[in-house]
């Protein structure tokens, strides 16, 4: 978990605007703000902007999301800031992801009116994944999540390949950027828009990553090693970001 959070935090450049969710994405963004990206602005979908997070929020609408913040505004204002093109990154998750980065958080199996497993649905994910420039996904890596085909496209990735987002009417130049898991960091091939392994975490093999993925992964050359968290990152993460081990304590 620490590896995943540190790898994700390094992807946020200083000065970026980021809409974050609770859990690992929030930990990664807080860590970035306290280490490599002190001028990044964190935004939360219910309207909290630029808080000095004292503690990890539990809800993306709770009062910590605007604690000593710059503005407590509305959900529409945050989403419209994304729609105007100001927001660089969003961090999303989901129950399933496919090779084009399409995400499912709505249902598994059954039909729509009587699903086998009902999940929450989009929340703000569809909007954020449609309107922010780059989608970052943090998720555990297993075959149940990394599936050939998602049961429901809650949030669009590259849909069925190159040009599909633009054809559907989504803002040009947007889409999935990186997928950060407990095993590796993946990006997307420029031409085919398919997911490709970019770096392996230490002590992880490419076979292990492929074995935990339900579709064929492309591999970027040269395949790199994900930088291990440095002492400063670990100190800030353990002492300032998540001292209760609320996120990093999970396996």
């Amino acid at each position: 978990m620490e590896m995943m959070i540190c790898a994700a935090s390094r992807l946020i450049d200083d000065g970026a605007m980021v809409v974050v969710g609770t859990g690992a994405p929030c930990a990664a963004s807080m860590l970035a703000q306290k280490t490599s990206a002190p001028n990044s602005t964190l935004m939360f979908e219910a309207g909290g902007i630029g808080p000095l997070l004292p503690k990890m929020p539990i809800s993306v609408g709770d009062s910590r999301t605007f604690y000593q913040g710059l503005m407590a505004t509305s959900m529409g204002d945050v989403m419209e800031t994304c729609q105007r093109g100001l927001v660089d990154y969003t961090f999303l998750g989901g129950a399933q992801i496919d090779m084009f980065g399409n995400l499912n958080s709505t249902r598994i199996g059954g039909d729509h009116q009587q699903p086998k497993v009902r999940l929450p649905g989009s929340g703000g994910a569809n909007d954020l994944g449609s309107l922010c420039w780059r989608i970052l996904v943090i998720t555990p890596h297993d075959r149940r999540r990394f599936t050939e085909r998602v049961d429901f496209i809650t949030t669009p990735g590259f849909l069925d390949g190159p040009g599909a987002r633009e054809k559907a009417g989504l803002p040009p130049g947007t889409g999935p950027y990186k997928v950060i898991t407990n095993l590796a960091v993946m990006g997307f091939d420029e031409e085919s828009k398919r997911m490709q392994v970019e770096s392996l975490h230490s002590n992880v093999t490419l076979d292990e990553v492929q074995d935990n993925t339900g579709f064929e992964l492309l591999v970027k050359e040269p395949l790199e090693l994900t930088p291990t968290p440095n002492d400063e990152q670990l100190r800030v993460l353990r002492e300032e970001v998540d001292p209760q081990r609320y996120i990093i304590g999970r396996s």
Partner: protein, 334 residues
């Protein structure tokens, strides 16, 4: 067929009419005098929530929610309500207590942006039972597009354009439509206006007429309040009208949107209320845990909800003043 092959048409059901002239006629006939609207939660719910009504719940699921009013809706066994599930988390969990618990069917249609889950806390087993039973019709949206539906209604227009939903199954199972921009030719998604029959919103302060103040994030409540045909306000405290007039910039909801004002201190409990008290995570966990077994859940609901006369009794069950003081300290970080 790949799930996203058909991107021109949506197949979700539109539960409410986007007719803006019908809405104008409704608002024209609505009494607009600045009269005293203070009443009990029991009276407000029996007067303003009817069987079959379409309901909107303010706040953000577990943050600044009108818990006391939602409890009363369940206690009064309202039937066949529609709901705008706009990051509905604990509020949804409360309303689901009226389904499949031997009290008829409280919810029968839901516009869903976020239901069943409680964010980082996990999924509600009972809400999932309700939504997997096939007895509640569901139409998909996203948080922003559902917020836009209220905004269109607040503006008095039948729809607003957006660039989200496109390409997804969320669009396919919504009731939005694809349109072409008359200026640029771009493909946009038309989001229909939603005028809820009744909305419930918890605020920090209100005067007796319903001039309200909200502190912290407003989520979508600025628009929800203006879109609602009937609006029940619960507030942490009543304030004098002179106080409102001393600082009109702070008024978020004006009296002419409001039908009932109920003074309910700690009225968002166990939800968070900015600058007042933090969420009671222990109680929310207890509620989730109780739901995993149907008998335990029924007993829990009898004790917490069905078997109590009013909200203050529920607060007592949950630790009363001592617990509320702890949550206040947690919120203020003292």
């Amino acid at each position: 067929m790949t799930p996203h092959e058909d991107q021109q048409h949506s197949e979700g059901e539109l539960f409410t009419s986007p007719d803006c002239d019908a809405a104008r006629e409704y608002f024209r006939a609505k009494p607009k005098g600045m009269v005293d609207k203070v009443m009990s939660v029991t009276d407000a719910v029996s007067r303003f929530v009817g069987d079959g009504d379409y309901l909107a719940s303010g706040g953000f699921g577990g943050d600044r929610i009108a818990t006391a009013v939602l409890h009363e809706i369940v206690r009064q066994k309202k039937q066949n309500l529609g709901l705008a599930g706009h990051t509905a988390t604990h509020d949804f969990q409360i309303l689901c207590a009226g389904n499949q618990t031997g009290r008829g069917q409280l919810l029968d249609r839901v516009d869903s942006a976020y239901i069943v889950g409680l964010e980082a806390r996990g999924l509600s087993p009972h809400a999932r039972r309700v939504m997997q039973s096939g007895t509640v019709s569901v139409c998909e949206w996203s948080n922003y597009t559902l917020a836009l539906r209220f905004q269109a209604a607040a503006m008095g227009v039948p729809f607003l354009p957006a660039r989200s939903l496109a390409g997804s199954d969320t669009f396919r199972h919504s009731a939005a439509k694809r349109i072409e921009c008359p200026f640029t030719g771009e493909s946009l998604i038309a989001i229909p206006a939603l005028w809820p029959d009744v909305a419930v919103i918890h605020v920090h302060e209100s005067d007796r007429y319903g001039n309200c103040r909200i502190r912290g994030t407003s989520v979508s409540d600025w628009h929800v309040a203006r879109a609602a045909k009937k609006l029940i306000i619960s507030c942490e405290r009543l304030i004098e009208n002179e106080e409102v007039r001393r600082d009109p910039t702070s008024t978020t909801i004006p009296f002419y949107c409001v039908d009932a004002v109920c003074e309910v201190p700690s009225g968002s409990y166990p939800g968070n209320m900015p600058y007042e008290y933090f969420s009671d995570e222990d109680h929310l966990r207890e509620w989730l845990t109780a739901e995993s077994d149907t008998d335990t859940h029924r007993e829990f609901l009898n004790r917490m909800l069905f078997g109590v006369r009013e909200f203050s009794e529920y607060l007592e069950q949950c630790g009363g003043a001592v617990r509320l003081e702890e949550l206040r300290n947690e919120e203020l970080m003292v």
